[in-house]
């Protein structure tokens, strides 16, 4: 069962390239890209334009996961945060290269390409973005 789900995950290019889109009517940026803008709905159709994000932002909130899913067990305890990207959208990602007690709300972070998890059954490795403290 797991394999099918995993294959689906692997085929999501936004996990590597940080390409979102922007509503041509209200300029709101979306990541992952959306088919239409939830604020402008009908008026946004056909006006969504691809846009590259910088992969930088700020921690809005976070947790330290101690009881993790099977494929993350070797990584526990690990911090997960909601990050508000400079362009506006919020995403969920792991914070890395940072002592657990230094993760804070308001911390400036930037993306880094990492291994996210390894499927315990197939051994397949999945990559994507994690975030680390921004260098000043």
């Amino acid at each position: 069962m797991k394999e099918g789900v995993a294959r689906f995950w692997r085929e999501i290019p936004q996990r590597y390239n940080f390409i979102g889109n922007k509503c041509g009517t209200c300029d709101t940026v979306f990541f992952p890209p959306r088919e239409s803008c939830p604020y402008c709905r009908r008026k946004s159709i056909g006006k969504m334009k691809e846009t590259k994000l910088a992969g930088k932002g700020e921690v809005v909130t976070y947790t330290i996961i101690h009881v993790g899913p099977e494929d993350f067990e070797e990584q526990t305890p690990y911090p997960i945060a909601i990050i508000k990207l400079e362009e506006g959208p919020q995403i969920t990602a792991q914070i890395v290269d940072c002592p657990l007690d230094e993760v804070k709300i308001g911390m400036k972070v930037e993306s880094t390409f990492r291994k996210i998890q390894q499927d315990g059954h197939t051994g397949a490795i999945y990559y994507g973005y994690k975030f680390k403290k921004q260098r000043q």
Binding site: T63, I65, F72, I80, I105
Partner: protein, 388 residues
């Protein structure tokens, strides 16, 4: 639209029920409700069953028809529909039953809710529950369900000064109520220290901030209000029903600390009932995690945003407070077999409004509210009830 009333209720014990199967549990709850309502199989126009993930928990989908069959109705060919909205599956099944009677299509409907979560083991249960979050943009990155609620807690603590002690007091209160509920998974009181000392699941939430993994089923019989007195002395009317949705992922929301689905569903239910939050005497709210109860009492309008922690300090929501919350023990102590929860909440409101809640009876309980959430707030369904 016609008025709708509850005329029968049934519950199984909630807990780790190793010796009972999915089929036994739902048949037990259903037959208790049907006996309570004093109806016969031929009176039933339709069946709605809430179940979040029977496919992954017990390897069985298509449980609408299965429930009709194990309840002994296969020869009556009653229409049977399974309803899914993660942990709000039960509440949604109640609402579907309600709507089908209110619309005039059905007169009598049986609603069931069930989940059998322990058969798969703890790690698998965590993964299955995570399917209620956004698999591609939350769970993929390692966010668990407790982790997502923990992020609400961290932000709530940051913005409003809510403390770990206030969170813990929610668990202490709900376990204190669970002592008086013979169906509850946990029926012993717990101390503040034991909650604060418990192992961390997802900081700032510890094990005792979490609802447990549970098996259990609940059932109701709904009836057109005009016919309800034929079956029972004490029909309990549903006077408001509201439902709303939001983004699956927490990070997609307007505000991390507000469940807008609760706000919108509540607005609809209050409007239909022609009531305000002040008119509610007691409530069953979706305390899947302690922080969830604090957000719920804020989003339902019982207290101002950010004052939920203070309300716990001031003991407003205890059994003898001005607005008792989770008299059943809540998801925390009663247990949280996810598909059963929304139905079990209505069972508690009915029991209270009938005046049959024994040692946990709320004095002068006239109007109760039930609040059932799916995921971290992507689905919310609210019912307001009153004795007829």
């Amino acid at each position: 639209m016609r008025d709708v009333a509850v005329i029968g209720v049934g519950l199984t014990k909630f807990g780790e029920l190793w010796d009972q199967s999915f089929r036994q549990l739902i048949a037990e709850a259903g037959s208790k409700a049907i006996l309570d309502a004093k109806i016969e199989g031929k009176d039933i126009d339709a069946l709605y069953v809430g179940s979040m993930s029977s496919g992954r928990f017990v390897d069985q989908e298509h449980v609408g028809a299965l429930v009709a069959e194990v309840s002994g109705f296969s020869q009556l060919h009653i229409p049977a529909t399974r309803v899914e909205g993660a942990c709000a599956s039960g509440g949604l099944a109640v609402r579907e039953g309600y709507l089908s009677i209110a619309s005039g299509i059905n007169d009598i409907v049986v609603v069931g809710g069930i989940e059998k979560m322990n058969d798969v083991g703890g790690t698998a249960a965590t993964e299955i529950l995570a399917t209620a979050s956004d698999q591609e943009w939350e769970a993929f990155f390692g966010a668990t369900f407790p982790g997502i609620y923990a992020m609400i807690a961290t932000r709530h603590m940051h913005e409003y000064g809510t403390t770990k002690e206030q969170l813990a007091q929610v668990a202490v209160k709900n376990h204190a109520n669970g002592v008086f509920n013979p169906y509850a998974q946990y029926q012993s009181p717990i101390s503040l220290e034991s909650v604060l000392r418990a192992t961390t699941v997802a900081w700032p939430l510890g094990l005792m901030d979490c609802s447990p993994v549970s098996d259990g089923a609940a059932s109701l019989v709904l009836c057109a209000a005009e016919k309800a007195k034929k079956y029972t002395e004490k029909p309990i009317k549903i006077i408001g029903s509201g439902q709303a949705s939001d983004t699956l992922a927490l990070h997609g929301r307007r505000d991390i600390c507000t469940l807008d689905a609760t706000v919108y569903a509540a607005k609809k239910a209050y409007k239909q009932a022609n009531l305000t939050p002040k008119d509610i005497d007691f409530a069953e709210v979706h305390d899947c995690f302690t922080i969830a109860e604090i957000c719920a009492i804020e989003d339902l309008g019982f207290v101002e945003k950010g004052k939920g922690g203070k309300a716990i300090d001031n003991k407003i929501t205890t059994l003898d407070g001005s607005l008792p919350v989770n008299t059943s023990g809540g998801l925390k102590a009663k247990g949280h077999p996810v598909g059963a929860t929304g139905v079990a909440q209505i069972v508690e409101l009915t029991t209270q409004l009938r005046g049959e809640a024994g040692k946990r009876q709320v004095k002068d309980a006239k109007i109760g509210l039930a609040h059932n959430v799916g995921g971290s707030g992507a689905t919310c369904v609210i019912h307001i009830m009153e004795a007829m």
